[in-house]
Each structure stands twice: as structure tokens, then as C-alpha cells.
Symmetry: C2
Subunit: 429 residues, 2 copies
């Protein structure tokens, strides 16, 4: 971990000199974030924009129009990944990608994903404003279905781009109403008049940048403006189903029960206990729980729940996964429950490009922005794009570390700083 | 506990002699159960008939018509309790009540409640068939909202009859859509043409009989036809809400989390552990769980769950309640959770009438039916009616002890035997 210190005087000097440009950039970013935030199923509990819903379509329409206004060639593939291309001096050269995603978790925030898409648009706007032509083409990307909020599987859009998801797999991704991603994505056809549609876009890329909220408290606690990400946590997600026997809550003695929720509780307690034994950043979460029949006076006959396990260390991650699989089997046996463990996704920890990290560090130093080279506890599309090209991420501080909730906030000024060093790096490479 | 043994020869002899009458009674009972079973929100997962829904209204219509066919005077109060009165020789004498309820839990069965209402109708039909006039009037009762499936509170209909629920309280009972019981019960007005409506029926009762499925495995395991209930378990139900902080499942270290579901899991494990330490029948169940935002990649920010605690022993019940209240407070403190515990209902264990138990035992013995005097692990309207008059219950075996599920089954022959000894007892008293 590198940390840049003693820059406060230079920093202040920089802000005085470059204040006007920075303010203009911040203002543009803030405006666009607020414009997109309108497109949400908002019942006051947060911002919800699930893929292929009306709100998602309106957010896409706005992004496509912003890209078109900046004279980008805009493409959208079958699944809804959007690409806004700014041609380079060398049209055949591999593209530089900048972007993130537009979908949110249920009751999420305004910044997660959106900030990175807007950063891509802002970098292109700045280059155009400054009349800078780049050698390589630039493509601003808005990935589809990153969060897995609707189809319960993360990084679907980027995995589709990378070819990890095949055409024949698309019918297997189902939302809570049993609608497949294949069926749901047809709603995007309403955007055909304003965008070039393609089935799957061929990617020829040199590098990918993703700006994102940190979603933790490290930068804020240390009063640092930018995080330059050196590696991203591995992440895995499972669906565990326990089947016991639904029965009357009053008449069945405790020792004759097959209570699926009791089994789930034991597993939850053990997941928390075991994960805490690791020193490197490792986390385990049961976030989605479905209980049947879910009546106060009936012993739960069936419980299914998500089990999300992540670690910056690959060995730790598999140690936790294997321990929990064994434990679930043990609990099921002891409590006369049938069980099933389904793997929803598995991403290994990945390392970012050293060249890109160094370039970003140099540019942050040149601009006297405080920064920190750090790991990411959250997974991102960049993990998948790392299979295709060099990748790097820039983090901006999250207020109170809050994320995936309505209180989520990152300062437009920090996002503008991130855009600034990404732009400098693009010009350099 | 008394058990009647060595009756198998006499039993067989009885069945041969009285077979025809019993068969006729069984057939009538079976027909009526199947007729009512049609009125269910049945998606294949069970029988669901919540109060004041279209299905409930159709079931009531059928019961009212059956009562009318038997020349009963049929009344229905404001909340939907139905009374079918057969006049006695002495019209001013206190009535003898027989009945149970028509509503079901979510995904419940065909017998729980319905069997007891039909038993009341069958007893009246037998008396009429045999031209027997009783000294006291008889009222067959179908109680409203016994299970609490819709309004999350048990015994609402009988508590209304007993005056434990006041008019001004009715707006406080809300279903999941926020509709109050006061509002919902207005749908019953469609039945006004076929029934005499009253606000609250004045009850002048001598005794109440309730036939019910055992909902456990005691009778079946011991191959006994009838249970004569000596006492009913106390029961209590709470709603526990834990509030932590929803946040990203990847970035927040385990020691900084305020995970509401982890808190709920610890409470569930402790409830199971502690309840198992008691020797008299005591049970604890978490059956309904609501998690927010309930997304696989977000730490649960809020969990609310039901906590149902029952015991045949009053001291045990309060020991469990108090222990759990203290434990919930401890877990909330340790895990930085806000908490709330709301008491939904509380019923003390109650003893049935010794005179009625003895009379039923005598009649079972006279008819050579195998029987057992036993406790009830489930709560019933009889607990509430016990405040108004002498009460007793007759249990019939539940197949595999299953209850509150679609597999619930009790043999019409056993129900007919129950009707037979109840009729004999009514004639005697």
C-alpha cells in the first residue's frame, strides 16, 4: 500500500489554479447523476432500477442521448450493454474502455455504477472540449445486469461480452416471476430507433478503466480523495435450500421437528463465526432468505437463502466455501433436512495492471491529489473484463462507507478528480 | 393420563352392530369436508381460506345453507361468527355449544377447524334423525379468524364473543395490505339475505364442545381413536424487529457490520436450545421472517420475525418468554442492533371441565371406543370460551401427525366416533 502525504499545500494551490475547470466538471457530473436518479422505482426506501424495466429503459435512453450529443457512435448489444465510441487517430487500434453499469440492487443508491458510466462520458467530454485526439479509439461502456438484482447473478452483461455466457444459457437466468433474461431483454427493442443494435459486440481493447464508489470506509477514514485499485476480491455466491417438514407450531415436540429455519440459523451463525477467523479481508453474508410457508404458527418446511462469500485471498475463499459446504451437510443430517447447494457465481481474486496503476499514481501525484493504492472488497465488471484486456479501477470515497442503500453518496468533486487522472492516463498510454 | 385397553373384541362387535349408522355418519362428514375444501385459494401447495375473502364467503354460504336445511335459526355477528340454533325444550336454558372455525392458515389443510364445525352439524343431524329433543338449546358455532392467518392474531372471533376485543380495537388488526379487520369484514354483508345479522351475539351457555384434529402423533402412535382433552397449552406470540444497517456485502468487514439477520439467527438458535431444556411439553417456533432489503449482495438492514412460545405449564412458558426477552436485548446490544418486541397474543394454559371429561370418558367406554385423556399442544377457541362456560375438546388422530399443510388428514370414521360420544354426552347433561 502506497500513500501520498504532505500534499496539502500543493493541493490547495492546485485547487485555486484549476478550480474553475474542476467546478465545471463536478457540476456536469452532479447534473447527470441527478438526471438518472429520477429513473427509479422509488418508494422512499432507496433507488431501485432493475434491468429491462421501464425505469432502466429511460435511464438508457438518457445515456444514449448524452453519448449521441457528444458525437459518439452508440451501439447496444442483445443484452443491453451500451457502447459509445469516439474514434481514434488509428481506427484499427484497440480501444480504451471506460465505464461501469446502470442497474442497481433493490433499494440501492444513486452512485454505484452510475458514477462510473458518467465518468466515462465526462472524460470524453473533457477530451472533446480540449480538442484532444487520442491515438486509440475510446469506448464508454454501460454494462447491463451487473448487480444481479433482478436475475440473482452478478456480471451478466460483462460475462456475455467476454463470451463466458453462451446464447443457450440465457434462458436459465430467471427473475422472481420466472421471466428469463432472454425474454426480459426484448423490452429494449423500444430503443432501436436511437441506437445501433448488435447481437454481441466484438471487443478489441487495450485497457479498461472503471471509476467506482469505494463502498467502504477506508478512504473517508484516512481523508484520501482517490483509491487506485491493485486487486479485486474473489467472490462467490450460492443458493442453499433446506427442506424439512411444515407442521403445527404447537403440537410437534422440539425433538421431532424438521425445522428448516432452525437449520438456516445454525448455518448463519457458523458462517459469521468462521469467516471472522481470517485476517485478510474475508466476508460472508446471508442477504436473501425465502421461508415457506412463512406463517407465524407453522414450523418452516422449506428455507432457501443466498450465501455470499468473498476474500482478497483465493485460499481463504475456498477454505470458507469448503468449510460451509461440509457444515451445511452436517446440519442437514443432524436436523433431518434435505439440502441442495447451487453455485450461482464464482470469481477468483484478480490483480489489476501494474502499468495502469503506475500511470494513475503518477498522474495523481502530478496533480497533487491524495491517493491510496488499495484492494477492493467488492466485485466489479472489471474482474470479467480483465480476461480481455489490462484493467484498473479508481475509487472515490463513500460517505460513511454506505452503499447499496439510499444514503449512498460520493462527492462529484472526487468523481471529477478521478476523471481527471483517468483522462491524463489515457492521453499518456 | 388414562388409557382404555383390551377393548378390541368389544370394539369389533360394536362396529358390526352399529356399522350402518357409523357408515352413514362418516359418509355425511366426508361429503361435507370435501364440499368445503373446494373453497380454497389452492395453488397446489395447500388449502388457504383467509377470513373475509371470496373463498371464505362461499364456505360460509355452504355452512349457513346446511344449518338452514336442518331447520336451525342461523345468526351471524359483525365479525362473522356463525351460530346455528336448535331450540331446546327449555328455551330460556343456557345453550350447549358445539363448533370450531372455518378459516385456515396459509397453505393449510382440509380438516383443521372444518372438522369441528361439521361435527356440530352432524350431532344436530343425528339428534333430529333420532327425534331427540334436548332440554337445553344447542348452538353450532363456526368461529371467525381463529388461525390469525390473515390478521396475524389468533382467536379473534371467540375473543370478540367473549368481549375481550372491544369495538375500538378492531381497526388495529391489520392484514399484510394494511386492511383492518373492521374494513375487511364488511365483505360479509353479501350474505345478509340468507342469515340473521347481529352486531355481537349475547351468549348464555352451559357448555362448549370442540372436536378437532390432534395435530400431533400421540393418538396415531398409540392406535387410539379418540383423545379427550384435559388441558390446553398456554400460547404466546411476539413480533421481534431488529434494525441494523443495510450495506454492501463485499466491502464492510465482519466486525463493523450491523447485520440484522445474523442477530435473528443467534436468537433462533438460542430459542431452540433453551426450549429443549424443559421436560413438560414446551415449544418455540420462528415461523414468519421478513428480511429487508432481502438481496443476496446486501447485508440485511432489518429483520422482523414471529416468535411463538407455548407450554402446558404456565411457569415454563413465562420462563421461556422472559429468558428470550433478555437474550434478544443482549444480542441487540452486542451487535449494535435496535430492537422492538411486540406481544401479539398471550393465552394461559387452561383446564377443561372435569364433569365433561368424565362424561365423555364414560360414553367412550360404553361404546367401546379406544380413547386417551391428554393435553393439547395447540391453542383453540375453547381456551377463550372457557371464560364463558364449561368446555371440553375431543381429538381425532392426525395422519402422520401432519397439520397446517395439504397432507393433513383425519379419518371421517374417527370424526363420526367423536360426534357419537359428544351426542351421548349432550343427551346426558
Amino acid at each position: 500500500m502506497i500513500r501520498h502525504n504532505g500534499a496539502s499545500k500543493k493541493h490547495k494551490k492546485y485547487l485555486t489554479e484549476k478550480g474553475e475547470i474542476m467546478n465545471n466538471s463536478s457540476r456536469k457530473i452532479e447534473e447527470l447523476i441527478e438526471k438518472i436518479a429520477v429513473f427509479t422505482e422509488n418508494n422512499g426506501t432507496g433507488f431501485t432500477r432493475f434491468s429491462y424495466t421501464d425505469m432502466d429503459i429511460e435511464a438508457r435512453r438518457l445515456i444514449i442521448e448524452e453519448m449521441t450529443t457528444l458525437n459518439l457512435d452508440v451501439y447496444m448489444d442483445y443484452l443491453g450493454n451500451i457502447f459509445g465510441r469516439r474514434e481514434g487517430k488509428n481506427k484499427a487500434a484497440p480501444a480504451i474502455l471506460i465505464g461501469s453499469h446502470l442497474d442497481t440492487v433493490k433499494d440501492g443508491g444513486k452512485y454505484d455504477g452510475v458514477a462510473g458510466v458518467i465518468a466515462g462520458i465526462e472524460v470524453v467530454r473533457l477530451l472533446t472540449e480540449k480538442n484532444i485526439e487520442t491515438e486509440n479509439p475510446i469506448e464508454v461502456i454501460a454494462f447491463a445486469e451487473e448487480e444481479g438484482g433482478r436475475f440473482h447473478s452478478a456480471f451478466v452483461g460483462s460475462n456475455w461480452i467476454a463470451g463466458n455466457i453462451k446464447d443457450e444459457d440465457l434462458s436459465k437466468y430467471l427473475d422472481d416471476n420466472g421471466v428469463s433474461i432472454e425474454e426480459a431483454s426484448k423490452s429494449l427493442d423500444v430503443l432501436n430507433p436511437i441506437v445501433k443494435r448488435c447481437r454481441r459486440r466484438e471487443i478489441n481493447a487495450k485497457a479498461m478503466f472503471e471509476l467506482h464508489c469505494e463502498q467502504g470506509t477506508v478512504l473517508e477514514n484516512e481523508k484520501i480523495s482517490l483509491g487506485i485499485v491493485s486487486s479485486i476480491t474473489g467472490s462467490s455466491s450460492f443458493r442453499v435450500t433446506l427442506k424439512g417438514m411444515a407442521n403445527h407450531a404447537g403440537t410437534i415436540p422440539m425433538n421431532l421437528r424438521r425445522d428448516a429455519f432452525y437449520g438456516a440459523s445454525l448455518i448463519s451463525v457458523e458462517l459469521n463465526r468462521y469467516v471472522k477467523t481470517f485476517e485478510t479481508h474475508s466476508v460472508g453474508t446471508i442477504g436473501n432468505i425465502c421461508v415457506k410457508p412463512n406463517a407465524y404458527n407453522i414450523i418452516p418446511g422449506e428455507v432457501s437463502f443466498s450465501m455470499d462469500i468473498r476474500s482478497l485471498d483465493e485460499n481463504n475463499m475456498f477454505s470458507i466455501i469448503n468449510h460451509m459446504k461440509t457444515y451445511i451437510e452436517k446440519i442437514a443430517l443432524e436436523n433431518k433436512l434435505d439440502f441442495e447447494i447451487k453455485e450461482n457465481h464464482l470469481e477468483y481474486p484478480v490483480k489489476m495492471s501494474k502499468e495502469l496503476i503506475d500511470a494513475l499514481v503518477d498522474n495523481a501525484r502530478n496533480k497533487s491529489y491524495s491517493y491510496k493504492v488499495m484492494g477492493s472488497g467488492a466485485g466489479h465488471d472489471t474482474i470479467v473484463m480483465n480476461e480481455i484486456c489490462d484493467t484498473v479501477m479508481v475509487f472515490v470515497p463513500s460517505k460513511d462507507g454506505r452503499s447499496h442503500c439510499k444514503e449512498e453518496y460520493s462527492s462529484p468533486r472526487h468523481i471529477a478528480m478521478g476523471c481527471d487522472i483517468i483522462m491524463d492516463t489515457i492521453i499518456k498510454i
